[in-house]
């Protein structure tokens, strides 16, 4: 298993790791059975992601993709965060081994799950905005 230097950097020194007691959007994806769980905390103000934190149980790629996803959405508008794709995460990490692509899918979904929670808390149906979150295909 060969990871890029960027992946190793984000694994060794993950950005934005931790919890956020005053988050107004929290999402968790994955399951312990398949070995990866990501929880993403967002603090959204005026339509912008003011702060983001994550906690991840998983392999090196799971930790690195979580870290990179938080970096890519921090300070961005909700609209921009919704456009985050797993391939953008992979690209920013300078590639991932093929068996680890599913970790980048989880990272994208963790962001979307947190945004869904944000809208749900506001009493707004998240589905028309965020879309339906599908489970990671490989977990089934």
């Amino acid at each position: 298993m060969l990871y890029s230097e960027k992946v190793m950097d984000h694994f060794t020194n993950p950005r934005n790791v931790g919890e956020m007691p005053d988050a107004n959007g929290v999402g968790e994806v994955g399951n312990a059975k398949c070995g990866d769980i990501m929880r993403m905390y967002l603090k959204i103000e005026d339509g912008f992601i003011k702060d983001v934190k994550f906690k991840t149980f998983g392999c090196g790629a799971a930790i690195a993709t979580s870290s990179m996803a938080t970096e890519l959405i921090k300070g961005k508008s909700i609209e921009e965060a919704l456009k985050l794709t797993n391939s953008a995460v992979v690209e920013a990490l300078e590639g991932l081994p093929p068996v680890k692509i599913h970790c980048s899918v989880l990272a994208e979904q963790a962001v979307k799950a947190a945004l869904s929670d944000y809208y749900t808390r506001l009493g707004i149906d998240p589905v028309p905005i965020v879309g339906v979150l599908s489970d990671c295909e490989e977990c089934h």
């Binding site: 298993m1 190793m8 398949c34 070995g35 998983g58 930790i63």
Partner: protein, 397 residues
Amino acid sequence: MVNIPMGRFVYADNAATTRISEPVFQSMVPFLTEQYGNASSLYGLGRDSRRAIEKAREKTANALGAEAREIFFTSCGSESDNWAIKSTALAMSHKGKKHIVTTAFEHHAVLHTCQTLEGQGFEVTYLPIEPNGIVSVEKVEKAIRPDTALVTVMYANNEIGTIQPIPEVGKLCREKGVVFHTDAVQAVGAVPIDVKAQNIDLLSLSAHKFHGPKGVGALYIRKGLVIPNFVDGGGQERGRRAGTENNAYIVGLGTAIELACASMEEKNAKVSAMRDRLIRELLKIPCTRLNGDPVKRLPGNVNISFEGVEGESLLLMLDSKGICGSSGSACTSGSLDPSHVLLSIGLKHEVAHGSLRLSLSDMNSEEDVDYILEQLPPIVQRLRDMSPIWEKIQREA
């Protein structure tokens, strides 16, 4: 790219492979340089090679309580397993016997070979493993049928190091008249083996697990047991496994097995003391379990699950501190399922993902153990602090 940090380097993955010892290396050198003769040649250069190979065969036989003519050199443990199982299956199928008994936690060299045979019309019973990582002899007995062609049970498990009741299974198979193979790749040099006393018909071994070179192994075939040849061709290995002999590596195997078995007791005492200290200290970390029987296990094997932690992350962080280990996590196997061995002893998926195997050899020192014990607990803590499931695990503990 060899990425070894400036600080300490601790190799604790001896179940994966071992370092070639200096005497083994020195014994091989002449056969990689001036003694290049083909062992089948008539002149002196060839005869020297022949003598060296036959000497290595005697040493291998002595280590197993076998006769030299019962030892056949191969390229690796997997080849030995393939030969033993496929050839026995083929020979027995002519007698209408098409059933194989094995265990659920064999090495893939055995499991996948059995699966191939299933595709060819054989029926295979994969026996469950007891929670302590040992197969029940009673279950082996119950699984044997009149049409059983072969029983194959590993001598010691490669992941959790548990030593199987091989003499008992051997005795049972001999009484029932069933051919008995054991994959002893992890056991040779670590457990006293006597193929005659233990009623073993076929035994696989591999040199690189006991400070010999990679790329050479052996299969013991009990005299009188007739199974088909593995490689047809010239007369090498008495015509049963053709191909010009790998002189240097066979010589290396001979030196390594002789050394490994000569000092077994002394070496095991040293290695198992280090193992037990590692296990004792690591189990002080909360929500941690030892996988496999604490006593009936290989002298160098430590296999521990740290709940709330994923194995690959653990290995990467250990690597950054210069410590080499391995894990039964899915992420290190290239699939999404964790180790079949850990699942076979009843571990939940999430616990199996957090397993760490540290395997020691006589080349390790107490200082290595000190270093692991200094580095590992903070790494586990760091990953648990990052883990969204850790709080829940603590609450439930």
